[in-house]
């Protein structure tokens, strides 16, 4: 059996989405900026896609700007706001568990003379509103806190954060890449100024994203050049990608409730099955304030990459926060921020679900996983030490 449980890394493109894209890969090749009929068709298609995405945010089409993906959106929002507001202040607040697209951008800005507060999180991955309030300064120009975390699925108190930002007249950006397509984000009721999203996390194509930019929010451009995207993001538009994104966004929001219900049921079944059947296992992230498709656990005494390899051999695709999967020195900064030891962080397994998963698949995973964990533990000197200690 082949079971894909890495939907948070990327999703397949829905057939309907691909169908919508095809004409723009084949026949309608004009540049939407062109005057002639080859371009005009594409202009219309872009308008439709923008409407589709705007609708998902209950926003105006003029507030949606297409980008080359979630990372570009994050970079643009943060660097663009920093550059536009640097005469007003140089202090930025973010969290310690942001995606690297936010974290590395903030670290880069530190080198450029900005000061960044990285709010810590509790052992479930939630920032403290008190910490946030305490970190506010007169020169704070931006708060960037992710809506939900990509590794552990924990959801932040975004409404409260947005309210604080608004009260203090500070721009608020949220990286919503992982919640988009799971939750309705209503910009009429949530006072957020910028939202980053990416198409390939909700059954759209890779290499397209968007930044929601509330009307009146002034940020600098990241990519200067031609007049595309109302002069805010240069570059010939990836029309096929944008059309696919629009379609994917629309479809995802059409049956949000059913989708979330399905995922939540599978997730809980998977989560319970693992925690009940495999000893010395810890759930990472908050039990309830959690993405409906995320299971993240740490198995003591074993390392993540070897787990992924073993799972892959039985057809199960997953991911891990182990440093060994990325070639970097340290395991996931997110797991370490929760207070996990290095061993536990290395032993983490992320299983993220999607539309295509079934109960049978989850049962298969629950059958395959315990012997894999046991086999690796039997090879582990740490397990041996533990057993000796217990003797």
């Amino acid at each position: 059996m082949n079971v894909y449980l890495d939907y948070s890394a990327t999703t397949p493109v829905k057939p309907e989405v691909l169908d919508a894209m095809m004409p723009y890969l084949k026949d309608f090749y004009g540049n939407p900026s062109s005057l002639h009929s080859y371009g005009r068709e594409n202009k219309k298609a872009m308008d439709t896609a923008r409407d589709q995405v705007a609708k998902t945010f209950n926003a105006k089409p003029e507030e949606i700007f297409f980008t080359g993906g979630g990372s570009e959106s994050d970079n643009w929002a943060i660097k663009g706001a920093a550059a536009a507001l640097k005469t007003k202040g140089r202090h930025i607040i973010t969290s310690s568990i942001e995606h690297h697209a936010v974290l590395h951008t903030c670290q880069h800005l530190e080198k450029e003379g900005f000061e960044v507060t990285y709010l810590p999180v509790d052992d479930q991955g939630i920032i403290s509103i008190e910490d946030l309030k305490d970190s506010l300064r007169p020169d704070t120009i931006l708060i960037s806190i992710m809506y939900a975390n990509n590794e552990i699925g924990t959801i932040q108190p975004v409404e409260e954060i947005a309210a604080i930002a608004k009260e203090n007249k500070i721009l608020f950006h949220t990286d919503a890449v992982q919640v988009y397509g799971h939750f309705q984000i209503d910009t009429q009721t949530l006072p957020v100024d910028m939202i980053s999203v990416s198409a390939h996390k909700l059954y759209g194509p890779k290499g397209v994203g968007a930044l929601y930019l509330r009307k009146g929010t002034k940020i600098h451009n990241l990519i200067h050049g031609g007049g595309q995207e109302r002069k805010k993001r240069a570059g010939t538009e990836n029309i096929a990608g944008i059309v696919g994104f629009g379609k994917a966004a629309e479809m995802a929001h059409e049956n949000l409730d059913a989708h979330v219900k399905h995922l939540t049921e599978l997730r809980d079944h998977l989560m319970q099955g693992i925690l009940e059947n495999i000893p010395n296992t810890r759930l990472n992230g908050h039990r309830e304030k959690r993405l409906p498709n995320n299971v993240n656990v740490s198995f003591e005494f074993i390392e993540g990459e070897s787990m992924l390899l073993s799972l892959d051999m039985v057809g199960i695709a997953a991911s891990s926060g182990s440093a060994c999967t990325s070639g970097s020195l340290d395991p996931s900064h997110v797991l370490l921020s929760l207070g996990l030891s290095h061993e536990m962080a290395h032993g983490s397994l992320r299983l993220t679900l999607g539309d295509q998963n079934t109960k049978e698949e989850i049962d298969y995973v629950l059958e395959q996983l315990p012997p894999i964990v046991q086999r690796l533990r039997d090879m582990s000197p740490l397990y041996e030490t533990m057993k000796e200690g217990a003797r």
């Binding site: 990459e305 070897s306 440093a323 395991p331 290095h342 290395h346 039997d378 000197p381 740490l382």
Partner: protein
Amino acid sequence: MYSDIVMDHFTNPRNVGEIEDADAVGQVGNPKCGDIMKMYFKIEDNIIVDVKFKTFGCGSAIASSSMATEMVKGKTVEEALALSNYEVAKELDGLPPAKMHCSLLAEQAIKSAIFEYSKKHNLHYKELEGFNPSEEEDHHDLGEEE
């Protein structure tokens, strides 16, 4: 990503386990980096008659341990000390650049065990000159940014 030989040694690792009455035990690595390798040797008349390992680590760490133990089994202590991580990697049909350190860990686990053995039996091996088992290397490739 991995060669067939690596995958074979990962899936069916040779010499996994412990030796209760080992003549030499060596452990290298630390959990911070995600790899710990422990090796047990049974040595008779300067010949490695048995060897076992336990490894906490990634696929290539497990395969490297398995391969290295196979390579030193039945060899003299000196021959085992002469084994380099490049030979282990070569025998595995190559390792990804970022994973070469796993083979180095296997080399060092062997050296570390025999170092202990040499101390206990007051032996001197010129291959161990300058070797310090407690010296932790920063063996990861940090990659490049900016």
